[in-house]
């Protein structure tokens, strides 16, 4: 039946374990939050320092890619269990899209 409810009873040890795990996760989130702010600062600095566009654009794209990965793994729970298949399909999609863009750039427009 669809409407079954479950009462969860945890032992003391289990409770401690989950607590510890959540603390680790929280620490990871805070660290990556700090890193993300730092990366954003770099991005702004690069623009403010008035570097050449050929430097600014790749740097910002690279930082954006790192931000996406941090976001996915630390905040959108992709580091948790049971996300293997999703990660596989996301990376397959990214791979295919990357191949297409690479080909278009190198042999159509270049």
């Amino acid at each position: 039946m669809a409407h079954d409810t479950h009462d969860i009873h945890r032992s003391r040890a289990e409770f401690e374990f989950i607590k510890r795990k959540r603390a680790t996760e929280m620490r990871g989130q805070l660290t990556s939050f700090a890193m993300m702010i730092f990366l954003t600062l770099i991005a702004f600095t690069v623009v403010a320092a008035d570097f050449s566009n050929y430097l600014i654009v790749p740097i910002i794209l690279l930082l954006a890619a790192i931000q996406v990965v941090l976001q996915l793994y630390n905040f959108m729970h992709m580091s948790n269990k049971g996300h293997g298949m999703m990660a596989f399909f996301m990376f397959s999609g990214i791979f295919v899209a990357f191949t297409i863009v690479l080909t278009m750039v190198t042999i159509v427009w270049w």
């Binding site: 295919v96 080909t103 159509v108």
Partner: protein
């Protein structure tokens, strides 16, 4: 709503199929409409061969020939081969993984009706001012110059049916990831389910580029954009890239399920576990991956430059490795097996040399310098018919015989099946083998006629004679189907006697809830394991008998698709300045989005099959099985 065995009137049956969300009935819908389009495409093929049977023939005009040729390719790929394979995927893979239905039954139905209306829309072009005539690849320079609405029928029709296919692909991915029975780990999944899975992943990743390409095409032709128009700063090569980024995975979308069907057949009729199951699985995944890295081998002569050509040539040759692994594994599955040459097995055995021949010419074409000689000649036509007919169509015919009892509860005649096989097989090789030489002699593809002084007369005549034999084979199959349906002799759970996977452990056709109790899978080939351990029921269960939650049928998928169909007419005729076109476009979209809104707002929680109903139904099934045992024994033995 307790039993699917009660007799219904004709109208009620039609309504049942229009509203069904049951994967087994949707499979039948796919099979019937795919089969219909297969016949349409076959008639077009016969017209091509009649036109080319002698030099200077005037059976078709040059313009009509272009239309027939384009529609033959488009129909066979999009409207015949894929839907028939989707029919088998729908009919079999949920049963193989022990599921009661696919993950999204409503979407399953929507996918079918979108495909169906897209196909009808495309074929209506014959009656509404001319079919598309730029080849199934629809290269942009040619397509943009094409007059009339043929190309618009192509692009809008394929957009609609493409949505359907994409939905079907996503549905199978979710089903196979989430709905496997307890114990059915990935590495215990039957190979047909594996190939369904990988083909669905390819659909997911390959159809968006096609959709984008076709969108550009629609905007160029109907709304004045210039994506592909070189004179306006566009680039006609971009279409070719988009088309083949989709088009190459597409041929793997077709061939992988075919490999899956043959893998099942080899194991069943050699009475052996598949040799190298793990290698077969990984070869399937590898083929799927490589499929996305090779598309430019269709474009060697475009002028991509030597570096690009070399990269894509090497990538293409690599594909021969996993395919070779598969071939050897199948051979070693047969080796030392206790083989019975039933109709499916004959097709499977004939498939190996036919497909290898197509594969070898494929590797020849992967050599870019040689491809400059072969490009756009009949050698190419011979090659892709060897892989598609020798691979996919043989699999479809084999699968029709293999899964007919599971889908319909009756058995196709083995005798007529063998007649079909021999006519079709001999006709196939007669038609296409000689086309290799026509290509080497210089005959270009897509020409509507040739001169008597070119020395191609005899070979073309032989090729046309072969096509006639294939047609006879298909007609015998139709006779076989009609006779089987009229006779209506019921068969039991495992009519081939050697079924290995879960679908053979349940009645043919299965009850609408498939499994009264979810099975527990204890290894690869679960039904075989239970049989070998003397388990009369063929299954062990993962749960006690209890109420089953099932989805309600719905008419909304049909209406959503109908709205798109109507809107497509509006979009197309809008460019001609008809006053009624815009209201039709808006009205069609209103129907589509309105019915989506209804679906979103109205809760449909499905219904429960109660334990009592299941027990009663089970008694009926037992009774019927006993009657079958007592009477004439159905099935092969």
């Amino acid at each position: 709503m307790s039993s699917n065995s009660q007799k219904k009137g004709f109208g009620a049956t039609i309504w049942d199929y229009l509203t069904t969300v049951d994967h087994k009935k949707i499979a039948i819908l796919y099979l019937i409409s795919g089969g219909f389009f297969f016949l349409v495409g076959g008639v077009e093929a016969m017209m091509i061969r009649i036109q080319l049977m002698k030099a200077g023939n005037d059976f078709l005009s040059a313009g009509t020939y272009n239309e027939v040729l384009t529609m033959h390719g488009t129909t066979m790929i999009f409207l015949a081969a894929m839907p028939i394979l989707l029919a088998f995927m729908n009919a079999v893979s949920p049963l193989q993984i022990g599921a009661r239905d696919v993950a999204f039954p409503f979407l399953n139905s929507l996918g079918f009706w979108l495909f169906f209306f897209g196909g009808i829309f495309l074929n209506l072009s014959w009656f509404l001012g001319g079919a598309p005539d730029a080849g199934w690849t629809n290269y942009a320079s040619l397509a943009l110059a094409s007059e009339g609405h043929g190309i618009d029928f192509y692009s809008l029709g394929l957009t609609i049916s493409g949505f359907g296919t994409l939905i079907a692909g996503i549905n199978f991915l979710v089903t196979i990831i989430n709905m496997r029975a307890p114990g059915m780990t990935y590495m215990r999944m039957p190979l047909f389910t594996w190939t369904t899975f990988v083909a669905s992943a390819l659909i997911l990743l390959a159809f968006p580029p096609l959709t984008v390409g076709i969108f550009f095409m629609v905007f160029d032709r109907l709304f004045g954009a210039n994506f592909f128009d070189v004179t306006m700063g566009g680039n006609t090569i971009i279409w070719e890239h988009f088309f083949w980024i989709f088009g190459h995975p597409e041929v793997y979308i077709l061939i992988l399920p075919a490999f899956g069907i043959f893998s099942e057949i080899f194991a069943i009729f050699s009475r052996k576990r598949l040799f190298g199951y793990t290698a077969l699985v990984f070869a399937t995944i590898l083929i799927g991956f490589y499929g996305f890295m090779v598309w430019a081998h269709h474009m060697f002569t475009v002028g991509l430059g030597p570096t690009a050509n070399a990269v894509f040539a090497l990538a293409t040759m690599i594909i021969a490795v996993p395919t070779g692994i598969k071939i050897f594994n199948w051979l070693l599955t047969i080796w030392g097996g206790n083989i019975s040459f039933t109709v499916p097995m004959i097709y499977a055995v004939a498939f190996i040399p036919s497909f290898v021949a197509g594969g070898v010419t494929g590797v020849m074409q992967a050599i870019a310098p040689l491809d400059y000689q072969l490009h756009d000649s009949y050698f190419i036509v011979a090659h892709f018919h060897y892989v598609i007919v020798g691979g996919v169509v043989l699999a479809i015919l084999a699968g029709t015989h293999l899964y007919w009892p599971k889908m319909f509860g009756t058995m196709l005649s083995e005798k007529l099946g063998k007649w079909t096989f021999w006519f079709f097989f001999i006709g196939f090789h007669l038609t296409f083998f000689i086309q290799h030489f026509l290509g080497l002699m210089g005959m270009p593809r897509r020409v509507y006629t040739f001169g008597a002084d070119q020395g191609w007369d005899l070979f073309n005549a032989i090729s046309s004679a072969g096509a006639l034999l294939m047609a006879i084979g298909v007609i015998i199959l139709l006779v076989n189907v009609v006779m089987t349906v009229v006779k209506g002799e019921r068969v039991g759970n495992d009519p081939w006697g050697d079924g290995r996977t879960l679908e053979w452990a349940i009645p043919s056709p299965p009850p609408f809830y498939n499994f009264a109790q979810t099975p527990l899978v204890r290894g690869l080939d679960p039904y075989w394991i239970e049989k070998m351990e003397g388990n009369k029921e063929g299954m062990v269960y993962a749960e006690p008998l209890g109420d089953i939650h099932m989805p309600n049928g719905s008419f909304i998928p049909f209406v959503i698709s109908l709205g798109m169909f109507i809107a497509a007419f509006g979009a197309m005729y809008h460019t001609d300045g008809h006053a009624w076109a815009l209201p039709v476009l808006i009205g069609g979209l209103a129907i589509t989005f309105g019915s989506m809104l209804v679906r979103s707002l109205k809760d449909d929680l499905g219904f429960h099959v109660t334990k009592e109903e299941l027990i009663a139904d089970n008694e009926r099934i037992q009774r019927e099985a006993r009657a079958l045992e007592g009477g004439k024994k159905g099935g092969l033995k």
